[in-house]
């Protein structure tokens, strides 16, 4: 802990976050997009835990606890929605789910 500067963890977290963002913007499979979102959430978790550890305060990790809870709930409901859409459109390709386009 004392030998590894905090910035390293933060840079790694930022990197993972930006990779997740790129994934969300590039991929066309809805489920893969979801996975990239999970990646982003994890990078946030890493940041929180880093700060919690270096400050010696456990509140950061309590927050990670709640983030995980929410991520789980969101993943469940989101996948249920994708299943429902798949039933109607027979595809999970985002480009083909474009009923919002005028």
């Amino acid at each position: 802990m004392s030998s590894i500067p905090m910035e390293y963890y933060l840079i790694l977290s930022a990197f993972m976050f930006c990779v997740g963002v790129a994934g969300v913007l590039i991929r066309r499979n809805a489920i893969v997009v979801f996975m990239c979102i999970e990646l982003m959430l994890n990078s946030a978790n890493l940041t929180l835990v880093t700060f919690s550890s270096y400050l010696g305060n456990s509140i950061g990790q309590v927050f990670v606890f709640f983030v995980m809870t929410v991520a789980a709930a969101e993943a469940a409901v989101g996948l249920a929605i994708i299943i429902a859409i798949f039933r109607n459109k027979k595809t999970v390709n985002i480009d083909e789910i474009n009923i919002f386009k005028w």
Binding site: S3, I4, G20, G23, G56, M68, A71, A80
Partner: protein
């Protein structure tokens, strides 16, 4: 060059590379597998940070439950493999990658500019004590009891919602 630094370098590179690989695979299932690898690397990093509870919960919940759910849905929906990544809509995709890289550069600059380790003197003992389940549990059940209960409700709602959304209609 102590063991911690080596461990950090190994785990960090695994996490970084697995995330990059994850977003570039054509096959969605392969992407999911690489994401699992990423989670494991993250769990290792948590351990390096003395966050025992979070590391374990990461493996159990994320790698064990959420990713299994993802894999189930992937295989259930039987999606065909995608076309090549840059087959169409090239411009937007290139632009998106550039933007993300640009944001990364900015955040990195901000981190180094802020340089928190200058002002922060990490205390090993306090860090270990903060990562124990007793410390977390103490916070959860006293200061954050209400969010804890609300999280419970959230999970209940998510369960019911997923059930309603995904089931077949009554004939």
């Amino acid at each position: 060059m102590n063991i911690q630094l080596i461990l950090f370098i190994v785990l960090a590179s695994v996490a970084a590379t697995s995330s990059v690989v994850m977003i570039t695979r054509k096959n969605a299932v392969i992407s999911a597998v690489f994401l699992v690898l990423n989670f494991f690397a993250l769990a290792g990093l948590y351990l390096l940070l003395n966050a025992q509870f979070i590391a374990v919960v990461q493996v159990i919940v994320y790698a064990g439950a959420i990713m299994v759910l993802f894999l189930f849905v992937l295989m259930l929906l039987n999606t065909e493999t995608e076309h090549k990544l840059f087959a169409d809509k090239r411009a937007i995709k290139v632009f998106a990658i550039l933007i993300s890289a640009f944001v990364f550069v900015q955040v990195a600059y901000l981190i180094f500019h802020g340089s928190p380790s200058r002002t922060l003197t990490p205390d090993e003992a306090a860090s270990v004590k903060a990562g124990t389940i007793q410390a977390i549990g103490q916070q959860l059940y006293t200061n954050y009891i209400i969010p804890f209960e609300v999280a419970g409700f959230l999970l209940l709602a998510a369960t019911i919602g997923a059930l309603v959304l995904a089931k077949k209609k009554f004939e």
